[in-house]
Each structure stands twice: as structure tokens, then as C-alpha cells.
Amino acid sequence: MEKIVEMNNIHKQFPYVKAVDGARFDLYKGEIHSLIGENGAGKSTMMKILYGMYEIDDGEIILSGERVTDHKYTTHTAIERGVGMVHQEFMLVKEMTVLENIILGSEPTKKGSRNVAIDFEAAREKIKFYIENYHMAVHLEKKVTNISVGEMQRVEIIKALYRGADILILDEPTAVLTPQEADQLFEILNEMRKDGKTIVFISHKLKEVMKISDRVSVMRAGKYITTVKQSEITMEELAELMIGRKVFLNTKRTPPKEGEVVLEVKNIFVPSERELSKIRGISFNVRKGEVVGVAGVDGNGQSELGEAIAGLRRVEKGQILLGGEDITNKSALQVRRNGLVHIPEDRNDRGLNGTHTFADNMLAAEIRNHPYSRLGVVNSKKIMEEAWKRSEKFDIRPRDPSNIAGSLSGGNAQKIVVARELGAAGKRFLLAAQPTRGIDIGNIEGIRKMIDQAKVEGVAVLLISADLDEIMSLADRIIVLYEGRITGELVNEEWIDEGKLGYMMMGGGDKNE
């Protein structure tokens, strides 16, 4: 088979993190090649480099035998060379129609207009071919704001094909899809392979990877690990390669001490930008001294649920009680005064203010309280003292709290968030959203222990995580969220059936019902 892509010794440094560290990757014509790795392993960066979005610091890219990195290699060149990419976050102009989005960048023009006036008719004709050939139904005249996520993805694929892509990169395409939609997608991909297209499939869902790929490459922490044929490996072996060690993390869970109900969620409805993430009537409660895990595929309303409880998102209907008091639609500050502490899901977004010192970050939530301020005047000395204390207690490296928070590694940055929240006085309910996402294994264990410790101290914990491992190792009870509804609730015991859990996460519902 013909080798059409070769990336050798690729290095890419971002301001605070080395995203790709000497990795390699290759592609044969007509294969489906999966690139797997944990969050933050450098998969997306690697493919964005291939798509010309990032300049590389070192290394080479060879497309069909030609070293393209000798010259300036941009997205424009990549497209010309037949590379197409469907990004995890869709790159669509919401205010424009589907048709305009598809043709953007390579528009057909009317004859005699000197390539000025767009020929929409010709574009429609050309797109029709892809729609019919791969059975991808899209509404060309609708504005992108008005179409579903699945359709947006089809638009993205057509967009890439329309530009003449022979190599199609899909970045975690199934994360936003329902299982049926995912199956449809796989059919489309198989069709394309038959037509001689080459597909790169980025994922960390091993089941899908095993189902669709010809070959699999593994990346871990920016480094290339290995490439194997799908037929020569099992799912367990792949998992081992991806995680990097045989023993799965297993924080020893302390048995729960059942106390009074701290958080009570009563039939809430929460709006969302995404159709499938809207919360449509869920109820549950969390007791003192227990961890309730919210499991589910990303984008099924977990973020919305967390934000609604933390006072960051409007609740349209229903009630949330914290410690017996109604906190529905109260501001984040009021909810915090009722005893909430909150580890937000994205530390680069809501979790930390990367441009400020980590002392500032650590005490931002408590700045109003004595002794950190008095009558509105800040006591910087007390802040520094406390920050040092917490820095020691939560083992943040480097220790010095006058460092800029953004300069710390992912794991240590996340520990600042944890230190801010778990160090706070008067906490009785911890909302931990994706607390260990994208950080190194050592720190994952540390943070999980801290959460378990908080439970022992009598804090009620709601753990929202896409990492099933994390849920299994920390939660006493598990609720499963699917398309904004609870599809199952079960107690985490030794003999818990992972298959059943997976079935519920795909919307299957509780088998016992």
C-alpha cells in the first residue's frame, strides 16, 4: 500500500505545556487509522499540525513523498493537498446558511464575472453528489444555528469532501452523537474507505476504535507510543498502551456514613445551547458523607446540571435545595454562602484566572471574609500566609504562591482549584465537575484522595465525571444522565455490572424498571 502521510519527530511547545514531544505518525492510502490517547495526550494537536493550523517547532511532514515543511505549511496548503479535518468544536459560521458554510473558501463563481460573483446553483449541484453518495441528509438553505448537532457534523464532513479531501481527519466525532448517529457515521466512513479515502479517527473510546479501524496509533503525554494493526490486538491491550500501566487507578473508597440530605434537586429543567444537553426534569438528592457520581457521555447535560446547582445557569422549572434552603436561581455568591464549594469543569475557563498569582486564585472565593479583608480593605499578608499553608497542605509544586497560576502544570493548576474549594471554611457540599480531566496520573490519585477525604469529613459530594473509572472508584451511588434525563440510578457495590452501566449511558434505561 502507498504511504501518503509521514510525520516524523514532531515537536510543539505551547506557552505552558509541551503538547507534542517528538511524536511520529503515518498513513496508508485507503485505511481508517485511529489515533488514541487520553485527554491531553496530544492527539488533536498532532492532527491540527497535519492540517496546518499550528506551526511546528521541529520535525518534518511528508505528504505523498514530498517534504511540505520545507516551505510555509498552512491550512491553505493542507487543503490544497487534500487534507480535510472535522474539528471537535465545529468550525461553522452560525449566522450563515449551510450552503454558504460548505462552499466557504472554495466557492464556484459565475461565468464571465471574473471569479467575483458566487454561483450558488453550481455549488448546490456539486454538493448534491456528496449528499446522495454518502446518504448525508442536510438542509442547504437553513442557517447553521437552526440545525442539530448531528447535522452540523454532516455539514462539516461534506465541507471537507467538497474541498476535495482525500485524507479526512475526524477529531472525536462521536462525542456529540447519539449511538444511532454514531452508527450512521461509521457507515458513512466505511463507504468513504471503499471510495479510496483515507480516514484518521481520533478517539479515546476503545470500543469504537476496535469497531472501525484498520490500524491504531497510540499517544501518551505528547509522545508516540506505538502503532498496531487492529486484528493483532485486543481492547484490553490497547487500554494498557493508552494508560501506560497495567494497574488501573483504584483509590480506596471509604464506606459512606449516611447522614441527612444536604442537596435536594426536585424535577429541574435547565436550558442549554445544545439540544441534547438540556436538562429535562431530573430529581435526586445527596446526603452528608456520601459521594454521588453522575455518569454519562459528555454533552448529555452534565455541565448544565453542575452550573445550575452552582448558580451559574438559570433554572426554568423545579427546585434545588441546599441544606434545606431554596437556592434555585440564586447567584453563585449566595449559593456559596449556603455552603457550596465548586470545582468547575474547565480549569482554564472557570476554574482559574491564569494571569493572576496563585495566591489570588486560591482565595478569590473568600476574599470578602475576615481575616483576608476587613471593611473592604485587603490584607495581602494574611492572604499570602494562608496561600503558603494551603500550598503545603495540598502539595502544590512549585510551592511559592506568588507564581502566576497559568505557569503551573495542569495537575498542579488543578490542585490550586481544589485547594481553593476544599480549603474553604464552612463547606458542606462539594460539586466536583471533571476534577481530574487532562492531568497526569500522580496528581489524579492525589486529587481523588482529597475528594474522598472531604467525604470522610462529612461533606456531601456530587461528582460529575465522564471518566467511568473515576466514578467507579469514588462514588457510593451512581446516577446516569442521558440527553438531560436520568436513565438509571444504582448503588456502587463490588459486583457492579459495567455492561449495564454502559447500556444506561447509551440511553438504554434501567433494566430493572
Partner: protein, 313 residues
Amino acid sequence: MDFMTIIGNVFTYSLVHDMITASVPIILACMCAVISRQVNIINIAAEGIIMFGCFFGVLVSYMTGSWVLAVLVSVGLGMLISAFMALAYLKYNVNIFVLGLCVNMIGTSGTRFLLQTIFKTSGNFVSDKIVPIPRVNFSFLDNIPVLKSLFSGYSFTEWLVIPIVIFIWFMLYKSVWGLRLRSVGLNEMAAVTSGIDVNGKKLAALVLSGACAGLAGAHLSLGYSCLFIENMSGGRGFMGMAAMQFGGANPLWAAIGCVVFGFSNSVANRLTPYGIPNQFVTMIPYVATIIVLSASVVLAMIKRRKSESALKA
């Protein structure tokens, strides 16, 4: 004089002529704001570029006696200034408002300085040697005073404005160039991943908007009048920006917004001799723009809230 007579004296058909002449410089300034807004840049430098356009229009016309050359120089200068702004904004990450503010201040004081050093005068400069942009008269309308007042006696650039606005609209909404340009403003990442040179598009938009502002300047000093006065832009650049907000960056709607400004200005001018406080009339377009702007944002918010709602099926 009673109120009705005053109203009768103010609202005559010649008001239309006044309104149009008052609107045209604002429309040109507005196109400057519109084009840069389409790539998501709020360009407040129109005021400064207009001042340079005014001055160099007069200067070149005075020196060479050619209004065509004068207009071309003004337009070219506008493009040059905005190209410099694009350099500072795109390469050196200078805040666009800081840039606009500085260009405006340089425009005011720089032209004053040039007036003092080149023409050795201050305040204003009038001369017979300044060749204005010619006016288009339709002699066959001479017998019909109403039509004559409505259609005759506009300068060349005043007629030119109509094709310019339509051309800009066509380029933005119907051409390849415009589709790409707008995609840069609406979702930069989408543009990048479609292989569009984002900075190139921004540069092009800025340069073109500079050309519009330069033309506005030349028109102001050679078409609208035939002299140079310090500060003669008189806030028209900002009015254009306000009208752009009014029209949501669509050139056609924005041009209508400009006519509203022109109308209120000419009504205000006509009210002055009667001792009626005209300040409120001048204020109206600004207040209206703020209200329109807020209303459109609030409506969009309500719409988004509805589409986000989890309650509907």
C-alpha cells in the same frame, strides 16, 4: 410667528435636498465603519482620516487644479493611514480603539499644523484656486422648480454614493470576496480552517474602509463645500459609526440610518433662526441609535433564551 408657520417654513421640499447633501458625507463615513465591522473591527478612526482627506483634497486641488487628482490623493491617503493601522493592529496587537483615538487626534492637530505651515493661516482656508467637484445640473428640469430642487445641483460625488453603497452591498453579500470577509468577522476559526487568510482579509477590509473615509473627506471639502476649516469633519465619522450600529453593518440599512442623521441635522439647522432649541433634534439620532442597538441586542437575547429553553418539547 406661530408654531405652524415655523413648521411650514422648515418642512419644505428643499429640505429633501438639504437632507441628501447632509447625509452623503455621513454615508461615506458610515461605509468605512460598515466594512471594518464586517471583519469584527470597530474602526473609530474615520474622523481622523476624514480630516486628512479634507485637507489633502483642498491642497491637491489648489496646487494642481484637478479635482480628480485631489480625490484620488485623498482616497490613497486614507488607504495608507488605514494600512498603517492594520499593521499596528494585526502585527503589534495595538488596541483598535487606542489606534482610532490617536489617528483622530493626529487628524485634528496634524491638519491644523499643515494648514499653518503650508498655507500660513489658521482657522480656515478659502481660495479661488480650489477646484471643487463639479455639480451635475439637469437643464431640462429648469422649468419645474420642484423637480429641479429635488434632482438638480448635486455634486458628482453625491450621485456616486448610490453606486458605491450598492457596490459594497453586492461585494459583501454576493461575492466570493465578501463571503470570505464576512466569515472572518463572524467566526474567525471557521475562516482559518477553511484556509482563508484571516489577516489578509482584515487588512483588505481596513484599507477599503480607509478609502471610503478618505473619499468622505475629499467630498466634504470639495463637494459639500469648497474650503478647508479646522475640525470640519464635525463628528461625521462618529455619526457614520452610529448609523452603522443602527443598520447592523448592512450597507443598505446603514445608509438609511445616515439619512436619518442627515434629516435631523438639516431640521436642526433650519430651526436655529426661530429660536427653538434645536439641541434635542440633534440628539435624536444618537439616542435613537442607542435605543435601536440595545433593542436589537435584547431581542437577540430573548430569542436565544427561547431556543435554549428546556421546557419546549
